[in-house]
Subunit: 539 residues, 2 copies
Amino acid sequence: MAEKAKIDLFDSTLRDGSQALGISFSVSDKIRIVELLDELGVAWIEAGNPGSNPKDLEFFRKVAAMQLSCARLVAFGATRRKDSSCADDPNMAALLEAGTDAVAIFGKSWDFHVKEILHATKDENLKMIGDTIAWFKEKGKTVIFDAEHFFDGHASDPAYAMACLETARDAGADVLVLCETRGGALPWEVERVTRIVVERFPGIPIGIHAHDDGGMAVANSLVSVNAGATHVQGTLLGFGERCGNANLSTIAADLALKMDRDVLNGKSLERLYTLCRAVAEVSNVSVPSGTPYIGDGAFAHKGGMHIDGVLKNPASFEHVQPAAVGNERRLLTSEVAGRALIFRALQRIAPYVDRNDERTSALVGTLKTLEAEGYQFEGAESSFELVIKRNFGSWHPYFNLVHYQTTGNHPVADPHSPETHMAVVKVSVNGSAGIAAAEGAGPVNALDKALRKVLESFYPSLRSVHLTDYKVRVLDSRSATASKVRVLIESSDGERNWTTVGVSRDIIQASWLALSDSIEYKLMSDGIVPPTEHTAHGA
Amino acid sequence: MAEKAKIDLFDSTLRDGSQALGISFSVSDKIRIVELLDELGVAWIEAGNPGSNPKDLEFFRKVAAMQLSCARLVAFGATRRKDSSCADDPNMAALLEAGTDAVAIFGKSWDFHVKEILHATKDENLKMIGDTIAWFKEKGKTVIFDAEHFFDGHASDPAYAMACLETARDAGADVLVLCETRGGALPWEVERVTRIVVERFPGIPIGIHAHDDGGMAVANSLVSVNAGATHVQGTLLGFGERCGNANLSTIAADLALKMDRDVLNGKSLERLYTLCRAVAEVSNVSVPSGTPYIGDGAFAHKGGMHIDGVLKNPASFEHVQPAAVGNERRLLTSEVAGRALIFRALQRIAPYVDRNDERTSALVGTLKTLEAEGYQFEGAESSFELVIKRNFGSWHPYFNLVHYQTTGNHPVADPHSPETHMAVVKVSVNGSAGIAAAEGAGPVNALDKALRKVLESFYPSLRSVHLTDYKVRVLDSRSATASKVRVLIESSDGERNWTTVGVSRDIIQASWLALSDSIEYKLMSDGIVPPTEHTAHGA
């Protein structure tokens, strides 16, 4: 069997993606996203623009230490400024400082942009492209050249657009990427122009970078591959400027399942659903249910005739098998939806769980209920593990809440104090009670402090625990301030990190659930034996 | 000037669209959507499936009375059952009873479906198609034939797929629609096959019906038109089974602005944004900000170089002019925005602001400080406007906070009550004080209720205000529960919507700031004159 043709996926979630409305990443968010993209099997990860954003440099220093299985990091920046030299250009210095072995350099290839935006001559722009790429090649970098606005440029002045690519190639560029920057090109144009470039530049990989302003980013990427492109840029969930970049989750599945390409360095597409969910959680967005392949509606059948057909033969209304991308069929009128998906996750985290154990189906039922309530365990595997433990064998809680109270005042008595809230927490551990109070910048902060204060007397090892991340997601936000919220908390004891989740209409209660899970998980992983006092958990 | 080629848009929001996860329409919703689609200028409105859904018949009786400017209503149903006659088929009776002058009849054109799903012979299926169409033609109906799974059918047994179309044409079908039912076909296949059909069936309009399972519904519709199709089926906002139908709002704009077709019966595309919003409202969904043409992010620029380019010439990063579809450019006042940009935003909202007024540079300074604190006005123009007003001329607050307190308990005294929190708010309005208490599902919900309760006695028009959206974004989430949070609140009085923002380390205080802005904005836009009592705002 002949080997599949390989396509390199280039993910820009951390760069172009961060330019989307409402998206912003912390350094630890970015590290997590790099891990997830590498797990998926993308070839390139564009990690940021160190020249325009100093915060990125801190991240590049941290990420340099990571061991990646197949992905290579890329730093992004512009060609040198006009009327200056590469050596004197601070952006290029920052790119070098990022320390990646590859850089993505974007340069103008549309005469209109050269004149109107850059206010440079066409020759000067060619020099800027050539000098910049040659300079980075001297420094030993792999250079990916992004020809910005290439398709508009080719429509306006084909000879000049081609001259930009030739200059880049002659300067040593390793990949020539055709950028459909405004996102408005039609597929037959993109295919025709890609074909011309592929024929004109034999022996050098040609890439495509598409935007979705005309609703054709995915199609434009595929027709470009069909015309010979072998490098596809986009963002895993389609985040990006304006209408977003080409959605790599859709493209990866289309290329692998419909065009028979190897897009994930031989890794399996079956983790697509789960890894996309994890990236969405870190990004604090939800995946629209109609998203191809990974949406919860992607294989959901509602129409009677569709359900009837799928029951007779799934191929009747499904273009691919849901399991191929780790998703699952949902028959919206039936009760069975979701069970197999949950069981798969269950086995990943608790391989000892036996499908034939009658407690298993009870547990699957519990998990289905929790997910219906708004729980999502993709980002919170520690809570997931606690749910399993509580449903299997003889679980005893490490403590029981007797009562908590939070009080907030504004203005506060002491105008100079940042503490606006107070919390009192009373717990019982193995029959003996404890109570503590604490102040905080908000109700959750106060509750967090009071809970750990009262428990440290019973479990000294909790002194090493601190919270490293706190996320709030408003579910069904149309119910406004009465909406359900999901709180994600990441904790650390200096050695390990773990994440827990809580859901409630009351943000304090949701936070409480995640906080108490975090503490129980820490004690459990330390191998501390819980007291045997029997009472319900967390209430 | 030659007349533009005409393309008939066929909207199935009320039929295929109602099969999407989470979409369901009341009879009055449907009436409103018919009005809106007719206003937009679509040619056909597929209003329902009277055979499968009795609720639809009631609606068809009501809608029959409506005066439409250009749209024609269509009732949807299957070919007659096998082993029976048209006269005895209850679904066909229901279709007739719907009383529309056009019907859309779907029939199988994939041999696999005929055998596996219908359990019929290929000949029997051809008879079912022929009989059904002939019967409706006898009744004087315009008949649109939907060849279900046509592309899969053509790939599997081209001769049979064509025989289905020939049978339909010979029986008198007025339009032959090629359905890409599973949504997985690639654009070059759809274009090639459409071309074959268009050549094979001169003189009869060919249509395309695409689904988005491969992320190519829009592209597949456009390539089909490029190959000669003149009838395009979809749903205005892309609702539909699984991943949805082709998005007609995107297709309409692409066809009109990029392929120079007349798609709206001569009506203007400039109402696209507004009419899509109205349909989204009736459907109780929000339009994702990245939606081509009609998303709030579709012409929003965030990256520094993009903003710089657009300020020099909008064509640099916009494929069409936002006004062409009734949308508008948004230069996001985010980290990357410079003073010049803030000044432009300022002039848009407050044209009376003079660049040389010394208060202006003070105001620009204030805005940059607020942004550094974590304010983001990109989604909250109403708070932005209030900041300007408070810094210019003689602003007086409508009320002043004396004190608020929130208290939460768990467990609550009454275990059956969903109210876990209590809030007390004391305000002064023009010297006279008021105090009110309320319970809520969480602290913010309680605070929201108490604040409006105490203010309604001073400002009765606030009774019409309700919150329609509530978002929480944790900034710098590494500080965990002590992180700053940004709260976005969207409010409505039934006529207008407005969005306000608050930032604080205390989620209650952040919510308070957004809530009080929301109320001040409402009173200001109602033209209510604030009291002249001088005190600082909100504290």
